[in-house]
């Protein structure tokens, strides 16, 4: 609401007319829309084709491929963007090799096409996983019925399977649309050097001016950004609620794999090239850069060193503080979110009514709001206007994280609470246990895996968060994301890469541990 407000009148559109009288602001909104639409389309294509190949053809190594194509989901987009920049930037490795061989650069990543490409590489996993799941869980007899009455496998795919997974594909597309519009890290690293601005980066620049006018413009742009992202998500909800059919999975056998025959090597090579480019090369270029003594030294063993890692972990006070900050923020937020989210989840599932519906909506709405806009809102609310000033403290970051990720806990725990039949609790009461004791002795122990997984689901993205913290950090509250971004901006590529590599290693190890804990020994 603050965007309709100025000093002399209470309700006005002046802020909007002021904001949109500047062409660069209009261009950033148009860029955001273009970027989101193109990225959504491109990543839908990539995600769906990969899903189909891995779910339904007979190419070898399917379970390994499935894990590998999901890896980009674990990589923070801004770190991935750095990896791509080291490959296809002005002095990127591949461009340099190409220039050496053919006399010109292969591809300039700092372009709109580069932006779409890199963004797609980090947002396609949701499409992949929804389509993959739909394809694998599809009742095999629906396809078999098609074949038995005379249709060839490819015809069955086209006229039966594709229409059946189409709702999943569209849902993935709209989700990716919202994610792309909200992304900050990739446009900041790939787009800004080429002066390509989107709403998130524009808002960041206005906030960085620190003036009243900058703030009011940032607010106006945030409203536009929210409208774009929410629009995509609401359209998705509408389509999901409208869709007439769900794919019922019966007892059924797994759907038959398509025999690719003579195309098998070709398809396999295609998928592996994709995996090498999308997953391995960016990480490899990041790791390579982190070992370099200085950018541009000749490719010799003597040019490499582990000093950058040593500096990040033990010497540089900025990186050391950032590590400590991020861990503290993430631990506190994850704990907050899990407690608060569990309460919301428990009450909304157990007591249906207006109050719990409102609670559920309040808890899930911030998740749909782009992080950049959420951070702007946090500044408005918590910088003293309403009595409490959290600005420049760690608490404003933690509150923002909590709002942003509360949804994760609510969803995870609500799913688990629904699994617990009320009779389990009633049985506790019937043998003479008081309600609180039932909660402690029965409900919480059964929910434990869900609580742990919700904690981990919040910890993972918060400890390497960039979008929110870059707007909310103060002199003593720099996070890992902010610090890596700062090093990268300042041209300290080796330090930035070393720090990013450490973050990736921590993320992978944590993911591995969590998977082990949660899926290794699972309660029924």
């Amino acid at each position: 609401m603050d965007s309709f407000h100025t000093e002399d009148s209470f309700f006005t559109l002046k802020n909007y007319t002021d904001t949109f009288s500047r062409r660069s602001n209009i261009r950033s909104a148009v860029n955001t829309l273009n970027l989101a639409v193109l990225t959504a389309l491109f990543s839908t294509l990539v995600g769906s084709v990969l899903a189909w190949i891995i779910a339904r053809t007979d190419i070898p190594g399917k379970s390994l491929l499935k894990t590998l194509v999901m890896v980009p989901y674990m990589i923070p987009p801004f770190i991935g963007a750095m990896g791509w920049m080291f490959l296809f930037g002005r002095a990127g490795y591949i461009n340099k090799i190409w220039e050496h061989l053919f006399g010109h650069r292969l591809f300039n990543i700092h372009s709109f096409a580069g932006l779409v490409l890199v963004l797609s590489m980090y947002v396609y996993p949701p499409v992949f996983i929804t389509v993959y799941t739909a394809l694998v869980n599809m009742d095999a007899s629906l396809e078999e019925a098609g074949r038995i009455c005379g249709a060839r496998l490819f015809r069955v795919m086209r006229s039966i399977s594709l229409p059946l997974v189409l709702p999943s594909i569209m849902s993935g597309t709209l989700l990716v649309f919202a994610m792309s519009a909200s992304n900050f890290g990739i446009p900041a690293i790939i787009g800004m050097p080429a002066r390509i601005h989107v709403l998130t980066t524009r808002i960041m620049s206005y906030m960085a001016t620190g003036t009243e006018r900058g703030l009011s413009r940032a607010i106006s742009l945030s409203v536009i950004l929210i409208a774009i992202a929410l629009g995509g998500l609401m359209l998705n909800n509408y389509l999901v609620s409208k869709s007439k059919f769900t794919i019922i999975s019966g007892k059924s056998t797994r759907p038959a794999d398509i025999k690719l025959g003579k195309f098998k090597p070709l398809v396999a090579v295609f998928v592996w090239i994709f995996v090498v480019f999308a997953v391995f090369l960016p990480m490899f270029s990041l790791a390579l850069t982190s070992l370099w003594k200085a950018w541009g030294l000749p490719f010799k063993l003597s040019s490499f060193t582990l000093r950058n890692y040593y500096k990040v972990l033990f010497v540089d006070s900025d990186t050391k503080i950032a590590l400590k900050n991020s861990f503290i923020f993430a631990i506190i937020s994850a704990t907050f979110v899990t407690i608060l989210g569990s309460l919301v989840a428990y009450f909304t599932v157990r007591w249906k009514g207006n109050l719990s519906r409102t609670m559920d909506m309040l808890a899930t709405l911030p998740q749909a709001i782009p992080g950049t806009a959420l951070a702007v809102a946090m500044i408005l609310v918590w910088s003293g206007r309403f009595g409490l000033n959290l600005y420049n403290t760690m608490w404003i970051i933690i509150v923002a994280y909590t709002a942003r990720y509360l949804f994760f806990a609510v969803r995870t725990v609500a799913g688990a609470v629904k699994q617990i039949h009320v009779s389990l609790e009633e049985a506790g009461r019937s043998v003479g246990s008081k309600p609180l004791k039932v909660l402690k002795d029965i409900t919480i122990p059964i929910l434990k895996p869900a609580l742990i997984s919700s904690w981990a689901l919040v910890f993972m993205p918060t400890f390497r968060e960039l979008t929110i913290s870059i707007l909310l950090y103060g002199p003593t509250t720099k996070t890992i994301g902010v610090t890596i971004y700062g090093l990268q901006e300042g041209g300290e590529y080796q330090m930035a890469s070393a720090f990013a590599t450490i973050v990736l290693l921590i993320a992978f190890v944590l993911q591995f541990v969590v998977n082990r804990c949660l899926f290794g020994r699972r309660q029924s």
Binding site: D139, I148, A151, I248
Partner: protein, 359 residues
């Protein structure tokens, strides 16, 4: 219309031997049922006829044309076998309405539009779905969805119809009705039907012949009466209907499919003539004898001379069910509902018919 022949079919799933050297001739226009407990290989056999599973070795012929041959490396894909199939969960496509579901096989065969309309209308009439053409599957009941599945499987006049437990998801009343309707449709169209079920009552009502299977091996093939009256072995007798198993000692040589046996587990160790419908492999003088509950009559007026006692009585609606004890052997007996005896009553009974089975 076509006959089906399976020759020395073997099927392994990994190291799991699920079909063991199965050979079978199914006649043109016959209604044949694969009956057996779950895991006996009946569905696998059906899916091999359809072409969804490939035998590890052996040959399959439809209408005397080979559709699968391990030796010749021949394997006709399902869509070219001209088969109709109804799936257990119906597999009605949720994104097509009733008309389009049924018309799909005709569209694939590139049949002109007006003819499609005519054929679909006719089959809709047969399966009694008139007026529901524009409905989507989610607007149909389970029974209606099943009729759509039937219509879709029949509309292109396939040479054989495969039914994979099509009634198991319906409620009891509807299931009963559908048995007769399926049989009716089959007679009307004269189509060869292969039916898979674990429900013996379904098999009895509909089949021309029943194939009883266990652990991937055919136990017995025969018409329902034969299977019931002359089960070949203990498994078939136990699986089809209710059986009392008694041990007997052979006291006379076999002649004309009959043999004299002493039932030494009963009071007074009575001797009687029992049926020997199948050739027997005898190791010693011991045999297993099957007595159906309705073949035991209670009361002196029925000529009963074997002594026993009423152990338990249960009323089942149409009949009275007794468990009687004779020299520590318990027997199940079905008696008319007006014959009321109290638990503990001493009785005399007679065994009207008994048959020898392999163990």
């Amino acid at each position: 219309m076509a006959c089906i022949r399976l020759e020395n079919v073997e099927k392994y799933f990994g190291s799991n031997h699920v079909i063991k050297n199965l050979s079978l001739d199914i006649r043109d226009g016959e209604f044949i049922t694969f009956l057996g407990p779950s895991g006996c290989g009946k569905t696998t056999t059906l899916r091999m006829i359809a072409g969804f599973e490939n035998p590890t070795s052996g040959e399959i012929f439809i209408g005397n044309k080979p559709v699968f041959s391990h030796k010749k490396g021949l394997n006709t894909p399902p869509e070219d076998r001209n088969i109709g199939m109804v799936f257990q969960n119906y597999a009605v496509w949720p994104h097509m309405n009733v008309f389009n579901n049924i018309a799909y096989p005709l569209k694939i065969r590139k049949i002109p539009k007006d003819e499609i309309k005519r054929k679909v209308d006719r089959i809709i009439e047969i399966v009694k779905l008139k007026g529901l053409e524009r409905r989507y599957p989610y607007q149909l009941s389970g029974g209606q969805q099943q009729r759509v599945a039937f219509a879709r499987a029949l509309v292109y006049s396939p040479s054989i119809l495969l039914l994979d437990e099509p009634l198991s998801n319906l409620d009891a009343k509807l299931r009963e009705e559908m048995r007769f309707e399926i049989k009716d449709i089959q007679k009307k169209l004269g189509i060869t039907v292969v039916y898979v079920t674990h429900d013996q009552a379904e098999a009895m009502v509909m089949s021309d012949r029943i194939v009883v299977m266990k652990d991937g091996v055919i136990q017995q093939i025969g018409d329902p009466l034969e299977i019931y009256n002359h089960p070949k072995n203990r498994f078939v007798a136990d699986f089809i209907g209710i059986s009392n198993f008694l041990k007997g000692k052979i006291v006379g040589d076999e002649a004309g499919g009959k043999m004299r046996v002493k039932l030494y587990e009963l009071e007074d160790a009575p001797e009687m003539e029992v049926d020997v419908p199948h050739p027997l492999k005898l190791k010693d003088k011991e045999v297993t004898v099957v007595v159906r509950p309705e073949d035991i009559l209670i009361g002196a007026e029925t000529g009963g001379r074997i002594g026993g006692k009423i152990f338990k009585r249960t009323f089942l609606g149409g009949i009275m069910n007794y468990i009687i004890v004779s020299k520590e052997t318990k027997l199940r007996v079905e008696a008319p509902k007006h014959q009321i005896l109290e638990e503990g009553d001493r009785i005399k009974f007679v065994i009207k018919r008994a048959v020898v089975v392999e163990d």
